[in-house]
Symmetry: C2
Subunit: 301 residues, 2 copies
Amino acid sequence: MGVLVVGSVALDSVQTPFGTVREALGGAATFFSVAAAYFTDVDIVAVVGTDFPAEHIEFLRSRGIGTGGLTVEDGETFRWAGVYGYDLNDRDTIDTRLGVFESFRPSIPSSLAESEFVFLANIDPGLQLSVLDQVERPRLVACDTMNFWIERNRPELVELLSRVDIMVMNDAECRMLAEEPNLIKAARIVLGMGPDAVIVKKGEHGALMCTEEGFFSAPAYPCESVFDPTGAGDSFAGGFMGHLAGTGDVSPENIRRAIIYGTVMASFCVEDFSVDGMASLDRIDIDRRFLVLRQVALFEP
Amino acid sequence: MGVLVVGSVALDSVQTPFGTVREALGGAATFFSVAAAYFTDVDIVAVVGTDFPAEHIEFLRSRGIGTGGLTVEDGETFRWAGVYGYDLNDRDTIDTRLGVFESFRPSIPSSLAESEFVFLANIDPGLQLSVLDQVERPRLVACDTMNFWIERNRPELVELLSRVDIMVMNDAECRMLAEEPNLIKAARIVLGMGPDAVIVKKGEHGALMCTEEGFFSAPAYPCESVFDPTGAGDSFAGGFMGHLAGTGDVSPENIRRAIIYGTVMASFCVEDFSVDGMASLDRIDIDRRFLVLRQVALFEP
């Protein structure tokens, strides 16, 4: 079936207690698509500048990722630089240069307008809405957002929530959007804004899904070597949407499985800089971690 | 089989965003025993002052909790006062008056020296060790601790860890004791200090068990009405040990079930002040939440 992702492709400079990397391949759409490509066909709609290394485009293509919607514009590629502290839970953004991303207006090629699975990675909710206007009734649309848009463009974010099937966000964003500190209440409040499911990413504490039927709590993969958390949430979304699109099954049981596959992809992502932790996996590596997570979560009455 | 608990019985004054209570029944051994008494016989070894209301002792006895080891000494009962902030995750202790608890030297009545299940609630590790010297090879010993003892009496805490079967602690204490921010690594480090299992309580994020065989991640119960978190960890321990003692089964599968029962008792605890949330349950209420948690955690390959 395949999945369409619209979002950022960037060059990340990251410092963690374990090392430093400069201008490595990054961006939400990148992490998403590298993760999703293990499960299904992926197409990216994004923008980069003329300075974007050709090798990165070749890398994406080598994964089978469609780059027909990745436009190159005059100017600089989006650059982000951040530093993680000792425990990796907090990070400081030390530089953000939007470059050509500042004037990104996603244009969906007609060949992708009938995509059945669509992921709207974190960009201005107004642009996320414009993507929905350009696609024909997808089977399933999921989206992400960030604190910046909750503060700066709540009206369009709320409109977006009424038009997507699944909202994926982190716990701080969920509490902020709902204006409610209790995460269970907060997830229900966001659910009430329209989507069929709210999936809350909690980092080392796993993920929590809220639907009308109740809650699903997915454990985190027990990672001993967390090297760089950058992109974990987008890799989670990639594994999640990739599994749904690859199987074509959006049943409640399969959505739970997809959350576990998302968790697995995030666990590989954090083990190295950039997309390196996900670059050379076999499907069996992925399924092995799925089964570990089943053991981690298992109990019987 | 029954379980013996050694720890504090106190009078708590608590302020949360939802209300205030003054000098209510509290203390680790209290929360533990009220929770455990739904599953098995419980005996408390603790100390209170002459000011301790007789109605509280009657309440404990009415639950079938053995109070033969609850001694009344000249002086004041241990009092604790705390204030919880908006999101209930942080609390400030505003007053601690140890009273007779300051000179508590647990003396195990000979009738309890052959207890098969023993829980050492949070007290000075030196006193926890003295309890172990007074009992005959219990089948299973679990203990708790707190940041204060990790800082002030690490040597005896480390000795204690080599003599207990299961360590129960919260995530911050686990990281502090292991001197390691990664919780997975930290739990393994504490496991290396001697116990067969380390159970890390993570509040709204559930619990994580680390053994030589691997990890078990238990979801939190999806509580929408968290009213007062005081005693949640001790109620967790009570449900956990109560189920193990009540069934007499310490198999790995039953230890996982016990963690879920602990989670259930903590979820009732936080719904009201003091032990009120646990005071009038039926066993069917408890088993209903166990089954909810099974649905919350369930996924199939």
